[in-house]
Symmetry: C2
Subunit: 220 residues, 2 copies
């Protein structure tokens, strides 16, 4: 999934990198865009969502605030795109392809691979503070929470849905299972441990979740 879209507030993609105003301007835009993302993430990590402002982001990024308003309509939009960018980078760093779910034919292995990479991302200090700030605000701020879900969380969950559907097609998952609920058996425990600090995160833990979810905990 990639786009040269010039509609920077579109849900799933950061502003286009190839702009009509030529290569030099385009490189400058790209640099500004990343400086703005970094500034937005740093600000929310440091002072929280409520005290983050477009002015503050512009000043940290060394750009005029009109540059920000040219591309985004609100601080929520900047932040959501900064997170999309961060998580695409994390995905690439883990050896995956952003917005693609591996399908080796072995469902358990594919789920474990993605969940291990997610654990690594959640434990990455670069990700930790800004993500917590945004998630906390989403808990009490319904509008932001819904944007967070629509633009960031749900598109990622839909990748699991796709993988579970393909496992249903190949007969590895029961046909009567609702994939949108089933994915929560392994995704939600990881999310809760991270959000609420209710237990340690490790690769062994997510592997166990996958095994339990696939085979059930009941005696046979």
């Amino acid at each position: 999934m990639s786009s040269d879209s010039s509609t920077p507030t579109a849900p799933t993609r950061p502003p286009g990198t190839a702009r009509k105003d030529g290569p030099d301007s385009s490189r400058r835009s790209e640099r500004s865009r990343h400086a703005i993302y970094d500034a937005a993430l740093a600000s929310v990590a440091e002072v929280g969502y409520q005290r983050t402002t477009i002015e503050g982001i512009a000043s940290r990024a060394g750009v005029g605030k009109q540059t920000i308003y040219r591309w985004w309509s609100s601080k929520a939009d900047v932040l959501l795109e900064a997170f999309l960018d961060l998580s695409e980078q994390a995905s690439e760093a883990a050896g995956g392809t952003p917005w693609e779910f591996p399908d080796t034919g072995d469902l358990a292995a594919d789920l474990k691979f993605v969940l291990r990479a997610t654990v690594d991302e959640l434990l990455d200090p670069k990700f930790e503070a800004p993500s917590r700030a945004l998630a906390a605000e989403g808990v009490v701020n319904a509008r932001l929470g819904e944007q967070f879900v629509t633009k960031l969380l749900e598109p990622q969950l839909q990748l699991y849905v796709g993988r579970l559907r393909s496992a249903q097609d190949s007969g590895q998952v029961r046909a009567d299972i609702d994939p949108r609920i089933a994915l929560e058996l392994f995704v939600a425990p990881l999310a809760q441990r991270w959000l609420q600090r209710s237990g340690p995160l490790s690769h062994g833990y997510t592997d166990t979740l996958v095994d339990y979810a696939l085979h059930g905990i009941a005696a046979r």
Copy 2:
């Protein structure tokens, strides 16, 4: 589980109701205690955790702030106990016994009963706003988050652990399952949908989680 403890900051119980200073004073204390709980919950729902103060709680409750400091050492302590009290009331309203997990011998039925009651509690407006405010603060405030887990969440999760162990003893759950992880398959999805508003809550949903967790989603 019940206690006449005179150490009101103990993790699991509100201040004792039978105090050495006699029945009239004890009734007054009881009234004050509930007024303080209500004020604490109302304050955090209205202005958030950070702007909630002992002074503000005292003023809303119509008591002197020394009355609060006599029983609790911080606003976090007051709030955590107010939540314990609220969730005990919810438990009783749902026909259960606080701090006891039903054990009818039918694990699926018992889990579904408790999760349905939890859905009802989470959808109760009395519970919604203060719980969100506390949960949001716990996401970004590690110290509060850890108290929230230690005093509120983990004692509740341990009730599931106990029930799953008894199901292992009776041969309904595989002996090699770790109950502390297994419970997350049905508890965490509910928590995530509530915290992140990532999907609707209903009795049918939690019933489905229990069925998937017990029997697995893989084809046999």
